[in-house]
Symmetry: C2
Subunit: 335 residues, 2 copies
């Protein structure tokens, strides 16, 4: 190791040497039977099922190196996938990670991504680790993660399980990541509120609340990745119900966020409803269930009337405004 060149890049040292530097930094998975080094990893699936999700982050539409450190990229790549596993009510067990990076990317940069993956796994999902991966060169930096989880014998939480009479509740934070992105686009990388910037750049979702919600009786769940309105809309569509947010609950959340971050309440409320990438967990529970600690009620689930379609009723005064959609809004620039 001592003769590893300083400032080595992907293009200047053999792939095997790069992997030898990165592998020891990756988090270990307790569910591994055979780890990295063979054609496949072999993973435990104790209840004869596993959940799987995948998400790719691309430089430009999904992140900017001008804004994110590689450590933050590692955290975000892990956290967004872990959040999807949690949203099924499953315990994350492992992930595979593919990175495509320009040849002038330093090995140190990749090490910091690995450290971010490790910190996110160890803190958010103890026992979950990286069990395999792939390293490629590319003109565009991209990080692709596929994560697995264990339902531990429980039924998966689906978007389609919400029942009229349920309450709808969330765990995590709402609005912070959207406010953080607005600060970045406004050029306030150094002046914006640190909580908002961190929520956007290195999200820290409540992964263990997925299992807690499932054990606590949740009837449906999803990860709020696009926005509370859009994702609640998906539960309402999948379940064939109306979701009615409580004016008071939204006002309380907005007032709290406004004080915490120093924005006005209307802006806070809009961020809560329409901001993306919060990765809070949205779940419905029967009304007679004691909510697990850390869940906050947002409203109720109602039957769709004769003249109605499934929809979300957000209360008064909120004006729809779309957040950043990397799929349609990105103009091809990366800085």
């Amino acid at each position: 190791m001592s003769d590893f060149p300083e400032n080595a890049t992907l293009g200047s040292v053999p792939e095997s040497a790069v992997l030898a530097r990165i592998f020891p930094r990756l988090p270990h998975s307790d569910a591994t039977i055979i780890g990295p080094g063979d054609d496949c990893a072999v993973m435990r699936a104790p209840d004869s099922r596993f959940v799987v999700t995948t998400d790719m982050m691309v430089h430009g539409p999904d992140f900017r190196l001008e804004w994110s450190t590689p450590h933050q990229l590692g955290i975000k790549a892990a956290a967004t996938n872990l959040s999807d596993v949690a949203a099924m009510g499953a315990k994350p067990t492992g992930m595979v990670v593919s990175i495509a990076a320009p040849k002038d990317t330093t090995v140190e940069f990749l090490e910091h991504i690995a450290d971010g993956l490790k910190d996110a796994c160890e803190e958010l999902a103890p026992g979950c680790g990286v069990v395999g991966g792939d390293l490629s060169v590319s003109n565009t930096l991209a990080i692709s993660v596929t994560a697995f989880g264990d339902l531990e014998g429980r039924e998966p939480l689906l978007r389609s399980g919400a029942q009229p009479g349920d309450v709808i509740a969330f765990s995590g934070r709402l609005g912070l990541a959207g406010l953080g992105l607005a600060e970045l686009f406004a050029g306030n990388k150094n002046a914006g509120h640190p909580l908002a910037l961190t929520a956007q750049l290195a999200p820290w979702p409540p992964i263990s609340q997925g299992v807690a919600g499932a054990i606590g009786g949740a009837t449906s769940a999803m990860d709020i990745s696009d926005s509370l309105m859009m994702d609640a809309g998906r539960i309402s569509q999948a379940s064939g119900v109306i979701i009615e947010f409580s004016e008071q609950a939204l006002d309380d959340l907005a007032a709290h966020l406004a004080i915490e971050i120093g924005v006005d309440a209307a802006k806070a409320r809009q961020a809560i409803l329409y901001g993306g990438e919060d990765h809070a967990l949205l779940m419905t529970f029967p009304a007679d269930v004691l909510l697990p600690p850390g869940f906050t009620v947002l409203g109720t689930v109602k039957t769709v009337g004769a003249e109605e379609h499934p929809h979300v009723n957000m209360g008064e005064g909120a004006m729809p405004e779309n957040g950043w959609n990397p799929y349609t809004d990105w103009n091809g620039e990366i800085s």
Copy 2:
């Protein structure tokens, strides 16, 4: 569907509309409990384990749109991952697929990738299908696949299991893909031998031979993705043995390939030993085992002597020559 715009691109229609076009074309997995549409898929793992591998293909180092059709890209993305599952002695059950593509990519292009994924799964690994994915925009086209498999109660085949006294054998084709790549680099996309070009652009590995080899008593296995020499070297290192190829076996293979493709025997032999991306299956078997149909003996496994290290003995007359290494050899150009 009828009002879907002709020549629609990723940038001109909503993501949901693109996915609505692609989803119905994807192959179905028999191991699916919950398919695409929720935060995760839920997969069966009948023996309480699953194998997992991941591989990303990037435009430039790993493929060129000048050479490959999108249908071929879909086949190659699936086949290379299925081959890793087969190399563990497992039956492929499912895969997730992430695609990052420029905004001007047509939806039709993505449909053809989906058709390639479907053809590869249905023909090479019946019952295996796509259970989830992600679609992103990017300046660089990349396809990332993570594939799963079922060991059906058997022990996984590892690189480390070869024993002195074993024979080493392969199933599939050797040398064709390397000859095909040489034709492409030489500008013979239309003049090269179709078998060689197809082996490179749309590999068709012997996936079912993974299970056949495992049932047939194989002691070690791997997918020949880099080259016979390099990958046999990995088995020799992992198992702590010497692998000695038979001069006669290599001569026979080279003579056959030379006649089939119309190259001289020395070139054919070099392609067999040093060409990459064949995705043949390399396995070792006890000498007293009747090889499963479709396996051809290449040589024998020997004990490492007192003054030796594990290595591969390739017989006389072959000169090492490295094939294309996308990691080090790519110069950043994509056409």
